[in-house]
Assembly symmetry: C2
Homo-oligomer: 168 residues x 2
């Protein structure tokens, strides 16, 4: 079903996508989709989450600082891209009880946690994960959702730098 959605999205605007089209492409009846996902927004959110679920952990750059900076830069690029913005819209539009929006935040959180755990193993003292979410992830996503001004490409990196060097 995911493959059917992905190929259809390459052929048409998502506003025009319908459950019967996805069903036809996947060779099932629409009721199969309604039974399993409930509605189209829930299916789209599921596909979007899958697409953004990273296959492997964040790159190990040798230090907490460069791991976090590299991650922040990649995260901003990913979330600012057209597929990233579409994913955010899809997970927020779904009323699925499994809460795709929360799953989406949990994926982000687990990526950051891997970096923080690695820092502890190295003997570094990482910041609290909630501070990273509140000070770096949240402002980026808020700007993407609620602000039509262009975002500085180094925004997430510089928020991360403020967090790592609070004195500056």
């Amino acid at each position: 079903m995911h493959h059917a959605v992905r190929t259809l999205l390459e052929e048409m605007p998502r506003e025009e996508l319908t459950v019967p089209q996805v069903a036809a492409r996947a060779g099932v009846t629409p009721s199969t989709i309604y039974r399993r996902w409930g509605d189209l927004p829930a299916l789209l959110a599921d596909v979007a989450l899958q697409r953004f679920h990273p296959d492997n952990g964040p790159a190990d750059m040798g230090s907490l600082r460069s791991d976090l900076q590299t991650w922040a830069q990649g995260y901003q690029e990913e979330m600012s891209s057209a597929p990233g913005r579409a994913m955010t819209r899809d997970v927020l539009a779904s009323n699925d009880a499994r809460s795709p929006a929360c799953q989406c935040a949990a994926i982000t959180r687990s990526q950051i946690q891997m970096i923080l755990d690695r820092a502890v193993e190295r003997g570094e003292t990482p910041p609290d994960i909630n501070i990273v979410m509140d000070n770096v992830v949240a402002p980026l996503i808020y700007r993407l959702l609620f602000d039509d001004a262009p975002i500085d490409p180094a925004f997430a990196r510089s928020r991360m730098a403020m967090l790592l060097d609070p004195g500056r």
Copy 2:
């Protein structure tokens, strides 16, 4: 039209609301609504924005610190409430070209700016408005949208305190 939407929302779940129902209640044809708003999400976003557009500026508590703290507390209560959450959902769901999500953020921004301008008149040195948006507004809204954990009722106040006393 706004009155028709508001009274219907008191009578039924918003998921069941349709354009023909709103039109019937308002005594117009559905095409009037489609012509002016485009679709139901755009109309709902317009009603939600109107409802949350504050009639007057934030309370003057005598100092920058208490103005910001009082505003942060009230903002958190408003946005965490059922109507506040519904408004956020409605403004994000709308694809209206007038971008209700950005209008919503602009209202928040103008409220904070009033507090900062008042502080300058008093001879106080206020923080930059973008810092207030990034450090207080964004983390609150991110948690409301992406996190199903309950939020500490003093969350926005304590984020504001961290911003006002960075050394602590």
